[in-house]
């Protein structure tokens, strides 16, 4: 599925410094019943965001007007648990284009890259610095430059480089998707299949 190209993102950020945020929190299983990729943003962090009567919980960061933007900042081991791509869809659909953490769960990270959400892994120290800045001043701008693989806090000397493999980077910069790539390999895949015994 096509997604917006990612080049430079300059945005305020929403801080959620909890460790081990699992995909059941990002999108609870009862909201996985759709047959189309629509409306998942409404249920992003559903049970942290709303009480059992569907009233917004005031102390949850997505219900706090102070914090907005296209960047979500999570604690260590973000996205653990289920392989549901719906978690990445919910994040995208809500309006985030980038998630920053000091560590990501594998499948979640892969899912993000496949749908156009950039997972940016930074050092625990830098994560602390960013969070501190944002809590002090929610209008702090974070700049994520994919081409340079650089993340910085605007108006400060703080920055860090981040890793992304060259192939995925190129995909995100151009809005390419893996399926197009694989479809072009169809002939070699068919030849390969003749060699496999199963």
């Amino acid at each position: 599925m096509a997604y917006e190209k990612f080049n430079i993102l300059e945005s305020t950020a929403v801080p959620l410094p909890i460790e081990n945020i699992d995909t059941d929190q990002i999108i609870p299983a009862r909201f996985l019943k759709a047959t189309e990729r629509k409306g998942f943003g409404e249920n992003l962090f559903r049970d942290w965001r709303y009480d059992s009567n569907n009233n917004p919980k005031e102390d949850f960061v997505l219900n706090n007007n102070k914090y907005t933007g296209k960047i979500l900042i999570g604690g260590k081991n973000f996205g653990s648990g289920s392989s549901r791509e719906h978690a990445a869809w919910a994040i995208y659909d809500y309006g985030f284009r980038c998630v920053i953490s000091s560590f990501f769960a594998d499948i979640f990270k892969n899912n993000c890259l496949n749908i156009g959400v950039l997972p940016v892994q930074i050092s625990p120290k830098f994560l602390e610095v960013i969070l501190e800045r944002i809590f002090k001043d929610p209008s702090t701008l974070i700049i994520v430059d994919l081409r340079k693989q650089l993340i910085k806090i605007q108006g400060s000397e703080y920055y860090e480089n981040f890793e992304i493999n060259h192939y995925k980077k190129n995909n995100m910069l151009n809005g390419y998707d893996d399926i197009d790539y694989l479809l072009n390999l169809k002939e070699s895949i068919q030849n390969f299949s003749k060699k496999t015994p199963l």
Binding site: M1, P17, I18, E19, N20, D22, D24, Q25, P28, A29, R30, L32, K33, A34, T35, E36, R37, D47, S52, G75, K76, N77, S80, G81, S82, S83, R84, E85, H86, A88, F103, F104, A105, D106, I107, N110, N111, N114, I115, N165, H166, Y167, K168, D177, D178, I179, Y181, L182, L183, L185, K186, S188, I189, Q190, F192, S193, T196, P197, L198
Partner: protein, 463 residues
């Protein structure tokens, strides 16, 4: 330098290596269920393409299905729509579909092995993180997202960087009442939920070689709970005997060829792992979790650690205890429970029902406990009846439901109510996993059985 078991299987499936990018990996077996597939099929429709190798994909309904009255139409509108979508997609693309009521229906990771779809040396994927289960057969099996489901449907490949390799060795004799589930919860408690992220794990040592295939499936199933992409165990005679004669297993000369290859599937003596852990099996006790991730496990006789002992982020730890309404230092033994759930792709196989029945035999379920016993498949359900286990369970006050994922993720009506405690044989104790506000204690079928009898957390050895 020698190759690991993982290297051998992975390398033989690489269609293309992309410079500074992922490998294009050929997939032998693709399992599909109703929840993570509809958007993938929609993608094929939008591109106007058909499934490339429909005979390599197998579809079943398990995640959102009811566990009662499966012969009736599914009441929940969205669930029934999702089930119908899978049925239609399977039919259109010529994929085997074992829907609700079909004799081969069951949880995707239970039926794969049952029917010989799961084979040593194969690459197996499914839009479900517990696909790691199939690694018990010496297969590379891992969960994928829906975009990747679409890739496999349309090209039979995924694109993944090759993970690093980890080996976990456990030797020694396991204690009484220590099951494969306890071994897995023990490992996760040592490594944490992110300790194996980026790695593919091989389990090695006498504890695993002496396990049954069912036990190995439980261990490999839980690999994802420590962040690993998957886990695997080298195939041996137990594996081959399990696979032999099943519907989709190789037959005759093909079997002989396969055996010749499968016997080479072990790590070479000089193979190097990026990381290695060794534990002593005799130190493992029956385990139970007290928090909101599977790494928060302790031996059943210990106290809940303090935030300092636990390490990690203090706020996150305390938030977790607050959710469970437990305190640092509390004894877990004797904690009151309300529900027991026996089932799931982790512990929904026949051996699990035997173990559970063995404990409750001649005893009565505690009146304050609601127990949901959900077989992993119709085949398991039939074995429970054929072996006479159902009679014993009924006499002890338990009923059997129909197969499905059920309360493991509570997509159907099997939801643990807010604030209630459930001892569950499933795989995740995340907040709200078993229903909004539910509180889960993960444990083995034996510990679950003991809790069902007493209504509180109980050491099965002293029941």
């Amino acid at each position: 330098m020698g190759k690991t078991l993982f290297d051998k299987v992975w390398d033989s499936h690489v269609v293309k290596k992309i410079d500074k990018g992922p490998d294009v990996l050929f997939i032998d077996r693709h399992m599909v269920h109703e929840v993570t597939s509809p958007v993938a099929f929609l993608g094929l429709k939008n591109r106007d393409i058909k499934v490339l190798f429909p005979e390599k994909t197998f579809a079943t309904a398990d995640h959102n299905t009811p566990t009662r009255n499966q012969h009736l139409p599914v009441k929940d509108y969205l669930s029934s729509k999702q089930l119908k979508a899978l049925e239609e997609n399977a039919k259109y693309h010529g994929i085997s579909y074992w829907g609700l009521g079909h004799e081969k229906n069951g949880i995707v990771h239970v039926i794969g092995p049952e029917h010989g779809i799961t084979l040593p040396g194969a690459t197996i994927v499914c839009g479900d993180s517990h696909t790691s289960t199939h690694g018990a057969f010496g297969a590379i099996a891992f969960g994928i997202g829906t975009s990747e489901v679409e890739m496999v449907l349309s090209t039979q490949c995924v694109m993944q960087p090759k993970p690093k390799k980890m080996r976990i060795n456990i030797n020694g004799q396991l204690n009484e009442a220590v099951t494969p589930k306890d071994v897995a919860l023990f490992i996760i408690s040592k490594l944490s939920t992110s300790g194996a992220t980026g790695y593919f794990v091989e389990y090695s040592g006498e504890v695993f070689s002496s396990m049954t295939m069912e036990g190995r499936m439980t261990v490999c199933n839980l690999s994802i709970e420590m962040g690993a992409r998957g886990g695997m165990i080298a195939p041996d005679d137990k594996t081959f005997n399990y696979v032999r004669g099943r519907e989709f297993s190789p037959k005759n000369e093909t079997w002989d060829d396969a055996m010749e290859y499968w016997k080479t599937l072990k790590s070479d003596d000089d193979a190097v792992f990026d990381k290695e852990f060794t534990f002593d099996g005799s130190t493992i006790e029956p385990m139970i979790t007290y928090g909101t991730n599977p790494g928060m496990g302790i031996s059943i006789n210990s106290g809940i650690p303090s935030s300092n002992q636990h390490g990690g982020n203090k706020e996150t730890f305390l938030k977790s205890l607050e959710y469970m309404d437990y305190s640092e230092g509390d004894k877990i033994l004797g904690k009151k429970i309300d529900f027991v759930f026996l089932g799931s792709c982790t512990n929904g196989r026949i051996e699990d029902f035997r173990a559970f029945t063995n404990i409750v035999k001649g005893r009565k379920k505690a009146p304050n406990v609601t127990a949901w016993l959900v077989p992993g498949s119709h085949k398991v359900e039939k074995a429970i009846k054929d072996e006479g286990l159902l009679t014993i369970l009924n006499e002890s006050g338990f009923e059997l439901r129909e197969p499905g994922c059920s309360a493991c993720l509570a997509m159907n009506d099997d939801k643990i109510p807010p604030g209630k405690y459930a001892v569950s044989t499933s795989n995740r104790n995340f907040e709200g996993r078993q229903g909004p506000g539910s509180r889960t204690l993960l444990a083995s079928p034996i510990v679950a059985a003991a809790a069902a009898i007493t209504g509180k957390v109980t050491d099965p050895r002293y029941l």
